[in-house]
């Protein structure tokens, strides 16, 4: 474990993620205080990636739960393995077991399907639990998370309460498509992940495309900064930048590579037209 936040920077960098001092401090704190971390920011700025990098750095398993509207307990925590239960009932149909014994049997642990949250809590090994795009889930689910994030335990009516042996490291991400409740925010550390500065973006491009010429990387980063200032349907994130850099590299030798590969970066016809008009004319 590192002694101070700055020590994290080269380590994370080594793993392929460009990180600045502020985020390093927040990650350091999260590990020290054992608090969940809420990362907010526009789509495609690398929020989810942070969880992956962290699990790699710590050597923990990453358990990911993609949130969506209508996500419920069955998909997030646990579900019974119905097929197996039905089969078991059939097998023991003519047996000597009483009804009570049969019920206890088919609601035993081996008939339980662990979903991400239960997996993270019940696991013997420590893990990184990523709750991705939490803003997409319903308020009811958010309320449920409150209990989980403060107690780190889950109760299953048929089995009793399962307490975490190793508190998972929890990262929540949100695109801020709605405001999260104050109660949830209060339980978390908070960090806003912004679009990278030009310098940082150049570093990112070079990290993912090591052979790229500095001049070209600079050009790409410069263009991206300008494009983000335009009013677009979908502002490109870092992931798109990387795609674009790869696209340009793939068109090696094409003098108009930057212009021709815009479709790697922009995902709507209007946006492409708009950018071509404003930046390339």
């Amino acid at each position: 474990m590192v002694k101070e936040p700055r020590d994290l920077i080269p380590i994370i960098d080594e793993l392929g993620y460009v990180i600045e001092e502020e985020l390093a401090t927040v990650l350091f704190l999260m590990l020290k205080l054992e608090k969940p971390l809420l990362l907010e920011g526009n789509p495609g700025v690398g929020k989810t990636q942070i969880a992956y990098i962290l699990s790699e750095y710590l050597g923990y398993d990453l358990i990911r739960l993609q949130c969506y509207e209508g996500l419920d307990v069955n998909n997030a925590i646990y579900e019974w393995n119905y097929q197996k239960q039905l089969l078991a009932i059939k097998i023991h149909e003519s047996g000597t077991k009483s009804e009570k014994e049969k019920e206890d049997m088919i609601f035993g642990k081996e008939y339980l399907l662990e979903r991400p949250l239960l997996k993270a809590i019940a696991s013997d090994k420590p893990s990184v639990l990523l709750l991705d795009e939490i803003d997409r889930s319903d308020e009811e689910f958010e309320a449920f998370l409150l209990e989980l994030l403060s107690e780190f335990q889950i109760s299953i009516p048929e089995l009793g309460t399962i307490k975490s042996k190793n508190r998972p490291i929890v990262i929540l991400t949100s695109n801020r498509s709605r405001e999260l409740s104050d109660a949830l925010k209060r339980r978390c550390l908070y960090h806003w992940v912004d679009y990278p500065s030009m310098d940082k973006e150049m570093k990112i491009i070079k990290k993912h495309q090591p052979d790229i010429e500095s001049k070209l990387a600079e050009q790409i980063a410069e263009h991206i900064q300008k494009i983000r200032n335009l009013k677009l349907d979908k502002t490109p994130g870092v992931a798109e930048t990387i795609d674009w850099a790869k696209g340009i590299a793939a068109l090696d030798g094409d003098p108009n590579a930057i212009y021709n590969s815009l479709s790697c970066l922009l995902k709507s016809n209007d946006d492409i037209k708009n950018v071509r008009e404003k930046l390339f004319n």
């Binding site: 936040p5 927040v26 020290k32 049969k102 319903d138």
Partner: protein, 378 residues
């Protein structure tokens, strides 16, 4: 403004800082104080930058708070003697001063020529007073009728929302719960004979309202706004924007429980009240700034406007198409439609109409109650 040197010890200064942050509008509780002390125990305070980042992660809960925090931090932990400018304004505006003058403009009494004995109000005479108030065109309401309508409107809206909810419930069928079914049928040896059903899941219902408050809507917008206020407490997710030449989000104000306070807050903040109309540009602005946040396939979008646009029709066309694409249904209520012989031939209305799912009137309360049918069939 206190400075860390004003405290006797470092830990006192820490507690003092938490208190100060609370006074400045940050939501910091005891847990936050504890965490702050934990952070300091990690010796992060040795580096001022790192210490700021660490505290920011504990104190800030929104992107907007970060800058305010930074300046607060600098003033407390660094230089001495400057006044903090940018406090965070809390959502709860209890000390809000009610502005009578602007309410008058909203009421339409500031600029309109109320024709109390207008022909159309005569045609409704003969019904009982409640019915009269419901059916009279908003622009022709007498003061007495306006009062009656106030009394009526909340009750009617409440009843309406109840009915919508009930209808929606009935029309849904519960899904089968496999786990419950197995348990129920153990006695049958696992052969599923009786099905157990899951509780019905409440369907999410998002309502987005774009209200035209330009000069030409003067006589209507106040009542429409009241209607919005009554609506918002009955639907879980309602977002309300006003527009004329500019777009303003008023959801936070309209969620105030006291109606008068809510309305005066809206009038105070919607400074563009009674100005010209640029529907296209306002909607475009909505698309750029808010549509990602508030529109999804489950959103019902409701536009309340007379469609008298002074902007470019092309802008309106693209903007309204985009809104249509991203919402479940687009409803346009136009107060002018209640007039005899009205036809949507103005450029603005004509441009918008092809994208609209439902085009209705909104000139009196009873026409607003029509919303019930539209919403419950969504």
């Amino acid at each position: 403004m206190k400075h860390y040197t004003d405290y006797l010890s470092f830990s006192e200064a820490l507690v003092g800082f938490v208190q100060l942050a609370r006074e400045e509008g940050f939501s910091t509780g005891i847990q936050c104080t504890k965490d702050t002390i934990m952070v300091s125990l990690q010796e992060l305070w040795l580096d001022k930058d790192i210490f700021e980042y660490a505290l920011a992660a504990l104190f800030c809960k929104e992107e907007e708070e970060r800058e305010v925090f930074s300046s607060l931090y600098k003033k407390f932990w660094r230089q001495k003697g400057t006044v903090l400018q940018n406090r965070i304004t809390r959502k709860n505006n209890n000390n809000f001063s009610v502005r009578k003058a602007s309410t008058a403009v909203m009421l339409g009494t500031g600029s309109s020529d109320l024709n109390e004995s207008g022909e159309e109000s005569k045609t409704t005479s003969g019904a009982n007073t409640d019915e009269t108030a419901k059916l009279t065109d908003f622009s022709l309401l007498t003061e007495q009728q306006a009062l009656e309508l106030d009394r009526l409107s909340e009750k009617l809206v409440r009843e309406m929302s109840m009915r919508i909810k009930r209808k929606r419930k009935k029309s849904k069928k519960g899904a089968i719960s496999i786990s419950e079914s197995i348990r129920k049928n153990i006695q049958n040896g696992g052969t599923i004979m009786n099905l157990a059903k899951k509780d019905r899941k409440k369907e999410k219902f998002r309502l987005l309202i774009l209200l035209d408050v330009s000069g030409s809507m003067d006589k209507y917008s106040f009542y429409l706004l009241k209607f919005m206020w009554a609506l918002r407490s009955h639907f879980k997710q309602v977002e309300v924007f006003t527009f004329s030449t500019k777009l303003v989000r008023i959801t936070d104000f309209i969620s105030e429980k006291n109606m008068d306070l809510a309305l005066s807050m809206v009038s105070y903040n919607a400074k563009h009240w009674s100005s010209g109309t640029k529907i296209g540009e306002s909607l475009q602005n909505f698309n750029e700034e808010y549509s990602k946040k508030y529109l999804n396939g489950k959103t019902m979008t409701l536009i309340l406007s007379d469609g008298l646009d002074t902007g470019e029709p092309e802008i309106l066309e693209t903007a309204i198409q985009n809104i249509k694409l991203k919402s479940k249904k687009l409803i346009w209520l136009n107060p002018l439609k209640g007039m005899k012989g009205y036809e949507p031939i103005q450029v603005g209305m004509k441009t918008a109409l092809p994208s609209v799912n439902y085009f209705g009137s909104a000139h009196n309360f009873s026409s607003l109650l029509e919303l019930e049918n539209i919403l419950s069939h969504a």
